[in-house]
């Protein structure tokens, strides 16, 4: 087994909000391998811990327990040059296409800083050239973009500049946190396409964080479904989306408004999401689960059900001959 580029070992995050403990993320372990480049979706509702996971992977947030290892070394103890290497290779595209721009500067600033930092030797002309190439790679006309201020551009343009920033750096791993949720539907395809081409052309591993399973289904190879900080189901994207095993995933997938007259919502009524959720031990989905049983007060393990398909639900018997390691199933 080759060294993982980024390895999460029992990473969890606990917030203390006025004496109450909130488990934003329960211990999770998986690796992002360098090769072959893949797109992995982390899906969940707000409060599922998906953004916390992203921040921890990016090194913007320290985990409460566990370690994040970059090329085998703990990210929190990296030395100067190692840290720079980590910084260069683990990058992000964020949700809000406006907030990532410093309003004080022209949009060039966003592209120029990383070039200057990670390629300090480049001349001004060479920097300019790199910026232009990156913009063209995401389908933008450099002359229409450079020298402008962020408020002079449209949301779709701004979000593509964000993807261009990632191209300029050529990272090994890109965390894309809801990159299309604030962009008009007709422009989403362009941005998703740019992401997919990053994987194809630059061999970038992408962690695609989203609440939207339709786009996840389209761009990614595998999926991790989070609910209130815990993994409910994970595995190959087509398997999970086409035959979900966990009641929560089933609920999610059944709630997708497919733009398709053949796939209408069924008439099934689901447990009300407004009901008070009980915190504490046991399955996180217990209070909302239509199939809950008395045994569900015990926290279920994430177990393999089929090749490249895991779920954590007592309804299902694990397949003993299959690997239960999350990484191997992604």
């Amino acid at each position: 087994m080759s060294t993982a580029t980024l390895e999460l070992k029992n990473v969890s995050k606990l917030y203390r909000v006025s004496k109450k403990e909130v488990h934003a993320l329960n211990p999770i372990s998986f690796d992002l391998l360098g090769d072959p480049a893949r797109i992995i979706t982390v899906a969940g509702e707000s409060g599922s811990g998906k953004t916390t996971l992203a921040s921890i992977m990016l090194g913007l947030l320290g985990p409460t327990t566990g370690q994040v290892l970059y090329e085998g070394k703990d990210v929190s103890t990296l030395s100067g040059s190692q840290y720079r290497d980590f910084r260069k290779n683990v990058q992000a595209v964020f949700q809000d296409p406006f907030a990532v721009f410093n309003p004080f500067y022209q949009v060039d600033h966003l592209l120029e800083v990383p070039i200057r930092k990670f390629n300090p030797g480049l001349s001004k002309v060479a920097r300019r050239k790199a910026m232009e190439e990156a913009l063209e790679a995401v389908g933008l006309q450099p002359s229409e973009i450079l020298g402008r201020y962020p408020h002079q551009l449209s949301g779709g343009q701004r979000q593509r500049i964000n993807v261009a920033r990632a191209i300029v750096i050529k990272p090994k791993i890109l965390v894309a946190d809801e990159p299309v949720s604030m962009v008009d539907a007709s422009l989403r395809a362009n941005i998703l396409e740019a992401l997919v081409s990053l994987r194809e052309n630059y061999k970038v591993n992408i962690l695609y964080i989203t609440h939207d399973l339709t786009t996840a289904y389209h761009v990614s190879d595998s999926i991790i479904v989070l609910y209130r900080g815990s993994v409910m189901e994970a595995g190959d994207i087509t398997k999970v989306v086409e035959s979900p095993q966990h009641p929560y995933t089933q609920l999610l997938i059944n709630s997708i408004p497919w733009p398709d007259l053949e796939r209408k919502w069924d008439n099934q009524q689901y447990a009300n999401p407004d009901i008070q959720e009980i915190s504490g031990s046991g399955c996180k989905f217990y209070s909302r689960c239509p199939n809950r049983q008395s045994g569900c007060q015990v926290t279920p393990q994430l177990v393999p059900l089929f090749p490249r398909h895991l779920a954590s639900c007592l309804l299902h018997q694990p397949q003993a001959n299959l690997d239960s390691n999350l990484t191997q199933n992604l």
Binding site: H211, H218, P273
Partner: protein
Amino acid sequence: MEHLLDITGLTVSYYTDIGRAIALNQVDLKLKQGEKLGLVGESGSGKSTMGLAMMRMIKPPGKVEGGSVVIGGVDMLQLSDKEMLKRRLSTISYIPQGAMNSLNPVLKIKRQMIDAYKAHYPNHKLDQILQLAHETMISVELPEHVLEMHPHELSGGMKQRVCIAIGILLRPQIIIADEPTSALDVVTQRQVIETLNRVQQKIGSALILIGHDMGLMAQSMDKVAVMYAGEIVEINDVQTVFTSPKHPYTQALISSLPRLQNRGEFRGIPGMAPSLYRLPSGCRFHPRCNQQQPHCQTTSPRKSIFEDEKYVTCHLYEAS
């Protein structure tokens, strides 16, 4: 058949430092009682302006510059301000986009419902109003004790359903729901949309769902009106829009949708929506159209009307 809602030639502009932005240009729309219409378009296409204009809630620097909004034979745009105040909520009601912040944080839900009721029927008895409030809460599937709560004690989905409850309190003939689920999770979204459909069916009103999510339209609407740069370019029943769209913009929109069948295909619409301050000549869509013809640049297309008030605004269909 007589139409419940008959909008003709509705034109709205915004006047700012940069100039005049034509947010709605000569829009026509007819709707029958009990019909469910989805109004879709990207941001800036005028779909929200449409909803506000129907409520007569366009504020400066916006201005309604022409047309009529006739509901049950009465033109809303001709009413006095006072009469219009009475029609809001009782004839035509509006469920807002930002349910998170649409409820007054310092008043109990009960009080906010009573306020709405009393504004229209100041003489009704309080227990009568409360009775109705209770019934309405049940019809949006909220427990009655929510009436005694403050907005911050409710989840996003509950707040949205409180807004729906207020919206249907006076059994309006038309409900406009402006992106009612844009901030909600998919599961909650589904429940809110289903609730909306149920109450709409129960009180028999017409429903206009404003949004950009074609999925929601496919799931719950009868008709779809597609807006582009301040105009309705196509209005058709949901079947036709999804299976054989007419307007090139609708076609591009439909083929850009991610479905189960077309996994991994990305077909964005090339180009950008025009600025409302500088609209292209001729057909507003021509710079992005893949079936562009020479006269598209110079002449605006006329409506080609099909049966049952459906139409498409495109030169391709003018001959027939």
